[in-house]
Amino acid sequence: MTRNMAQVSLFAVGLLVGLLLIGQLRSQARPTEISTLSAQELSQLIETLSSRNGELRSALSDQRDTLREYEAAGPVGQSALQVGREDLRRIAAFGGLVPVMGQGISLEVEGDLDAIALNDLLNELRNAGAEALAVDQIRITARSVAVQGPTSLLIDGVPVGRRFTLRAIGSPEGLLSTIERPGGIIPQLEQFIDASIVASQSDDLDLPATQADLTPQVAQPDD
């Protein structure tokens, strides 16, 4: 009887120790729980989330418009074709399958930019709202990443020289202010990399379609 009670007690104590240890390990984790972020981090997060939610609201409104157009067009005829073609143009532009034009910024880069720096620059421009990007005549798609080749950087298997032009279509003011702000990507790169980056606004950028074949070989639609 006493032995059983002792075993039960020991089991209960062991369980309690385990639970407390789990709690302790969790409390040592990163401060990603919202309540543990600093006021500055929270403010930055609010700004970013508000902006992204605005994009989602806009996307939802657009998609509901498309839905209404499809419903109004009906399943047959020229109207349905027209709505479908417009949808195809939108998707193709989004994914880099067709050339696009518009306002944005142009970066003249010259120097020893490594693959990490170029990928960071592309990531920063995307985050700043760039809708379409091209490095010289290479249109940047989801799969396009800069890697170090035998003699130069490569994107989609195409060499990128020490001197190249990076074009980004999007809000010219928004893109420029993001990458040039103190602590932004350009001041950072200029501090650590031996390269010059000259950014300017442009009213008429023409970006080519990707030359890469984006058709998956093993991925299948999951309907």
Binding site: I46, L56, T66, E71
Partner: protein
């Protein structure tokens, strides 16, 4: 001293053994409990009322985002259903719908399945030694970017991070210690799924983008890391804005 020779002594020793075990366990409970109490007190001191208000706003925005994403996914599905209904109505429409399906597949707007690999990375469980930077022991946004770069460069055809599908406009962005992918605020552990052909894992693990920085951080700081080959992964479609405001197609569709 024989146990058999003194049954009463055996009982005494048994009780003593249990007693000592329980006493030690209780001491551990007390120690761990005190550590937790102290650390929660320390956190509370830094959580001002202003922070609580801001944290509440973040939670509200995240809830709003969940709703928006669900509504957008529903609208996307409805559009695709209407397109599929019109298939067969005419040869031209049928061809157009085929092109739409291919374009969606190429650009990450379709859910996909196929063989591939899963990579998981999480913060180190090691206790941060005195004088060390605690941020070295957590997964940084650069780690995720390096992993994704290595995966694309190794031939991945589709990638998602914690269910966020990567597309041409996707960025992986750090806000303090937090990570934003597309519109979503993600927390560790980070689960990166990539569809690709045989040998993807070997190519990924040998790629300079992986071994250059993140593999060293895994070894040095004990970041939790695991990878696994799967015969079939299922990746969701991208949910977000696909309509450009500034870029205009300069020719007809593909």
């Amino acid at each position: 001293m024989s146990v058999m020779a003194n049954p009463g002594g055996r009982r005494f020793r048994t009780l003593s053994t249990w007693g000592i075990s329980i006493a030690v366990a209780l001491a551990v409970v007390g120690f761990v409990g005190a550590m937790q109490w102290n650390s929660s007190l320390a956190r509370d001191q830094f959580t001002t009322s202003a922070q609580q208000v801001l944290a509440g706003q973040v939670t509200d925005l995240e809830d709003e985002q969940d709703t928006l994403r669900q509504e957008l996914a529903t609208a996307n599905a409805q559009v695709q259903r209407l397109q599929q209904q019109s298939t067969g109505s005419s040869v031209a429409l049928e061809e157009l719908n085929r092109q739409l399906a291919v374009a969606r597949l190429q650009t990450g707007l379709s859910a996909v399945r196929g063989p591939g690999i899963t990579v998981e990375i999480a913060d180190s469980k090691r206790v941060v030694p005195p004088g060390e930077n605690p941020s070295s022991f957590i997964v940084l946004v650069d780690d995720l970017r390096d992993i994704v770069t290595a995966l694309w460069a190794s031939g991945a055809e589709a990638i998602s991070i914690n269910g966020e599908r990567l597309v041409a406009t996707s960025s992986i962005y750090g806000v303090g210690a937090s990570v934003l992918v597309n519109t979503a605020f993600l927390s560790p552990p980070f689960r990166i799924e990539a569809i690709g052909d045989d040998g993807l894992l070997e190519r990924f693990q040998a790629h300079p983008a992986f071994i250059g920085r993140v593999a060293q951080r895994i070894d040095f700081f004990g970041l939790e890391f695991a990878s696994q080959v799967s015969t079939e992964l299922r990746l969701p479609a991208f949910i977000g804005s696909t309509r450009f405001r500034w870029a205009v197609p300069s020719e007809e569709g593909p």
